[in-house]
Amino acid sequence: MITALIVDDEPLARKELRRVLSKADDIAIIAECSNAIDAIGVINREKPELVFLDIQMPRVSGIEMLSMLDHEKMPHIVFLTAYDEYAVQAFEQHAFDYLLKPVNQTRLEKTLERLRRNRGPQKIGELPGASQLRQIPCFGQHHVQLVRMEEVEYVASGVSGVCVVTTDGSELPTELPLHILQDRTPLLRCHRQYLVNIDFIEKINFLENGLAEIRTRRGQNIPVSRRFFPQIKERLGIL
C-alpha cells in the first residue's frame, strides 16, 4: 500500500480528491489537513509516501511548505492547483508532478502509475521562491503562530524539541529541525543546539578554552562552541 496525505483548505476539494482516489486500491489515505502547518506535523510524524498538496492555502502556501520539509526525507509531492500558469510551468521544470482541479481520473491514474514504477526517493530541484523561509510556523496548545524572521531572537534545541525564542521572550515550539532552519533562514549556527539572529547580538564575551558567549540585546546568554566560533567571527567581521 502507498500511504497518502491530502492537504487542501477546501473541505469539498478534499472530499472530491478522496472520491477519485477511491478507485485506486493500493492508495491508503492516512490523513487530511486543511493547512500547510498541520501538514508539516503530520508528514514529520507519519511519514506518508505521497502528499497531494494544494498550492493556494492560508498563510503558508504549498510551495512555501516544501522548504519547511527535510529534503532527505521528502515524500512524493503531487501539487494540486485550480489555475496557475506560472506554477504549472515551474512544476514541470523541477520534476514535480501536478494535477489540475477538478482532477481528471485518467490523468490521476498516470500519476499513480509513475509512482508505482518508481517508489524511490523523489529527486527534485527546488522551486523558485521556495528556498528561503519568511516565517517559522510554531505550535501552541490550540493555535498556530507564524513567527517572522525579524521577530526571532534565537532558536534552541532541547530534549522536548526545537524552540523558537522571540524578541519579546516567548518560547514557541516548532516542528522544523535546526538544520532546516540553518539552511533556509539567515539565522547563524553558534552551537550544536543554538541558532542566533545576528541582528540581535549585543556583544560576545570571550571565555577560556576558546569558548565564547553571545549576549543578546535583551540580555540573554547563548553559548558559542569552539567548532562554530571561527564562522561567527568571520560573519561578524572579527579577525
Partner: protein
C-alpha cells in the same frame, strides 16, 4: 518732320513694343493674376480698372503728336479693360483715360476723350454679351480682341470726323493716322491678350504640376506614419518624397534625432544620430518654418564642411496642442536653387504627415484603452475562482445533486453579471445579487470556515452605483482576508444612509490589509477611481484596518445619483 502713313505706322508699332514690354513685365507680377480670369469680385474689378486705366494713359502719353492731334494707342487699354472687366470697368477706364486725354488739350481733345469712353463701353458691352452667351473663353481670344479693337478704332475715327472741327483738317489727319492706328491698336490688343493667356497657361501648368506631385505623395505615403512615427516608417516616407519632388535630399527627424535621410550627403547625415543643425533646433523650438536658401540666409551643413548641400527648408511636424513632434527637411545642392513649388509642397507634405502621425497616435491610444478594458474583464473572471467552483460542484454532484444544481445556478448568475460592461451603472439590488451568487459558491468552498452576514435595508436597493463596485470589494475581503487566516472567516456586509450618502461597509475578521501599490491595491483603487469619476471627489472607497482583528472597506456613493 516728314509725316507719312508708313513712317507713322512704324513709329506707332515701336511705341506699341514699349507698351507691350511694360505689359510683359507686369505680367510676371502677382497683380496680373486677377486679369487672367473673367472676374466678378469687386477687389479684382478694382485691380482691373486701375491697371487698364494706367495702360490707357500710357497709350496716350506714348502717342505721337500729328499736327493738332495725337496718333496713339489708348484704345488697347480701354477696349481690353471693358472686355475683361465688364461694362462698369470699361466705362471707368474710358472716363479716366478720356479725361486724361482731354486734359492734354488740342483740337482733337474733346473728340479723342469721347473716343476712349466709347471704346471702353464697346469692350464692356462685348464682355456682357459673351458672358450671357456663356462664352467665357472667347473673352481671351487674341484674334477677337484684335478685331474688337479694330472696330473701336474705326468708331474713333468716325467720331473724330463728326466732332472735331474744322472737318477738312480733321479729314486730312484721319487719312494720315487711320491705317497706322488701326494696325498698331489691333495688333497691340491681340499681342496683349496673347501675353495674358500665356501667363494664365503658365500658372495653370504650375498648379497642375503641384497638384499632381502633392496627390502622388499623398497617395503613396498614405497610412505609413499612421503605423507609428519611427525610423523604419520615416525612411519609407522620406524615400517617397525624395522620388516625387526631385529635391537634392529629404530628411525626417523627431525632436532629438534624425529618423531618415535620403539623397545627397547621406554618407554623413546618418539616421539615428542627434540633430545638430541649428535651423532644425530653431524650427522645433519655435514651431516655425526655417528657410536657408544659401543666398540671403547662409546655409552650411553642420556635420561636414565639404557637404554639397547648399540650401535647406525645415518644416515642423505638429502634433496635439501645437506641440512640435519632429521636422521634415528638404535640401538642394549648392548647384541648384529651391523651386517655389517644392517650398510650398514641403509645407503641404508636413501638414499631411502631421495629421497622419496624429491619427496613428489616436489609434494607438484607442487600442490601449481597449486593452485596459479587456484586462479589467479578465480580472473579473478570476480563473482560480472558476476552476475551484467547478471542483466544488464536482465534489457535491454525487451525494447532493440538489446542491450541485443550485451551485450551477449561482455560477450562471455570477458570470451573467460579470458580462456587464464595467462602464454601466447598476442598482445596489443588482450588486447584491451579484455578491450573493459569488458568496454562495465561496461558502460552499470553505464550508464551516466562512460565515457571511448581509444587512442591507430593502429600501436602499434602488440606489445607483457603477457596476462591479461591491463584488470586487467582497472578493478582496475573502481572497486576501478570511481565506488567508487559519481560524474561521467572517465577512459582514452592511449598508446605511448617512445624510445624502449611501455608505456600504464590507468588514472581514482577518485584518490582513496592507496598502500596496499593486496587487490588491489595483482592484480597490480601480473601484475608488470609478466612483470618483462618476460622482466626484467627496465619494469613493476608504479602508480601516486593525492587524489580525479586522479590515473594513467603506464605499460612499450619493443616495440620489446626480450621475455625471
Amino acid at each position: 518732320m516728314q509725316i507719312d502713313p508708313v513712317g507713322l505706322s512704324l513709329v506707332l508699332l515701336q511705341q506699341m513694343c514699349v507698351y507691350l514690354v511694360v505689359a510683359y513685365l507686369l505680367s510676371r507680377t502677382k497683380i496680373f493674376i486677377p486679369l487672367t480670369h473673367a472676374t466678378i469680385r469687386p477687389p479684382h474689378k478694382l485691380a482691373c480698372y486701375v491697371i487698364f486705366s494706367l495702360f490707357c494713359i500710357m497709350g496716350t502719353i506714348l502717342g505721337m503728336p500729328v499736327v493738332h492731334a495725337i496718333a496713339n494707342t489708348p484704345a488697347i487699354g480701354a477696349v481690353l479693360g471693358g472686355l475683361l472687366g465688364g461694362p462698369l470697368v470699361g466705362l471707368g477706364v474710358g472716363i479716366t483715360g478720356g479725361l486724361h486725354r482731354y486734359s492734354l488739350g488740342g483740337a482733337f481733345a474733346l473728340a479723342a476723350g469721347i473716343d476712349i469712353v466709347v471704346q471702353g463701353m464697346l469692350g464692356g458691352l462685348m464682355h456682357r454679351h459673351l458672358i450671357r452667351k456663356g462664352k467665357v473663353r472667347t473673352l481671351f481670344d487674341p484674334v477677337k480682341a484684335g478685331a474688337l479693337t479694330f472696330a473701336g478704332v474705326l468708331l474713333e475715327l468716325l467720331i473724330d470726323l463728326a466732332v472735331a472741327k474744322p472737318f477738312d483738317q480733321t479729314l486730312e489727319i484721319v487719312r494720315l493716322i487711320a491705317v497706322p492706328e488701326l494696325i498698331a491698336n489691333s495688333l497691340g490688343a491681340a499681342l496683349f491678350m496673347g501675353i495674358l493667356i500665356d501667363r494664365r497657361a503658365l500658372i495653370e501648368r504650375q498648379s497642375s504640376l503641384f497638384s499632381a506631385k502633392a496627390l502622388a505623395i499623398a497617395a503613396r505615403a498614405d497610412g505609413v506614419l499612421r503605423r507609428g512615427f519611427n525610423q523604419e516608417n520615416s525612411m519609407t516616407v522620406a524615400r517617397i518624397i525624395y522620388e516625387e519632388t526631385g529635391v537634392g535630399a529629404v530628411a525626417i527627424t523627431d525632436r532629438e534625432k534624425i529618423l531618415a535621410f535620403i539623397g545627397i550627403g547621406d554618407d554623413h547625415h546618418l539616421p539615428g544620430t542627434p540633430i545638430s543643425s541649428l535651423n532644425t533646433l530653431d524650427a522645433i523650438a519655435h514651431n516655425e518654418v526655417t528657410y536657408a536658401d544659401g543666398n540671403e540666409v547662409a546655409y552650411q551643413c553642420s556635420i561636414s564642411p565639404t557637404c554639397p548641400l547648399g540650401a535647406s527648408l525645415v518644416i515642423p511636424l505638429v502634433g496635439e496642442d501645437s506641440h512640435v513632434i519632429g521636422t521634415i527637411k528638404l535640401y538642394e545642392p549648392k548647384t541648384k536653387l529651391f523651386s517655389t513649388i517644392n517650398r510650398t509642397l514641403g509645407e503641404g507634405i508636413a501638414k499631411l504627415l502631421s495629421s497622419q502621425i496624429l491619427a496613428g497616435r489616436y489609434e494607438q491610444q484607442k487600442a490601449l484603452l481597449a486593452q485596459a478594458e479587456i484586462k479589467l474583464l479578465h480580472a473579473q473572471v478570476n480563473p482560480h475562482f472558476l476552476f475551484n467552483a467547478l471542483n466544488t460542484i464536482a465534489a457535491v454532484t454525487c451525494d447532493e445533486p440538489e446542491k450541485a444544481r443550485d451551485l450551477i445556478g449561482d455560477l450562471s448568475t455570477f458570470f451573467r453579471m460579470n458580462l456587464k460592461r464595467p462602464s454601466e451603472i447598476a442598482s445596489l439590488a443588482e450588486e447584491i445579487e451579484h455578491v450573493n451568487a459569488y458568496l454562495q459558491i465561496e461558502r460552499a468552498r470553505f464550508s464551516d470556515s466562512l460565515t457571511v452576514d448581509i444587512d442591507i435595508p430593502d429600501s436602499l436597493g434602488r440606489v445607483r452605483l457603477p457596476a462591479f463596485t461591491l463584488q470586487p470589494v467582497v472578493e478582496n475581503a475573502i481572497k486576501h482576508g478570511t481565506s488567508q487566516q487559519l481560524r474561521p472567516g467572517h465577512v459582514a456586509i452592511s449598508a446605511r444612509e448617512d445624510g445624502d450618502q449611501l455608505v456600504i461597509d464590507v468588514q472581514d475578521n482577518a485584518g490582513l490589509y496592507e496598502p500596496k501599490p499593486a496587487g490588491q491595491g489595483l482592484g480597490m483603487s480601480l473601484v475608488d477611481r470609478r466612483i470618483r469619476n462618476c460622482f466626484g471627489p467627496s465619494y469613493g472607497v476608504t479602508v480601516a484596518s486593525d492587524r489580525d482583528v479586522f479590515t473594513r472597506i467603506t464605499i460612499r456613493v450619493p443616495l440620489e445619483a446626480a450621475s455625471k
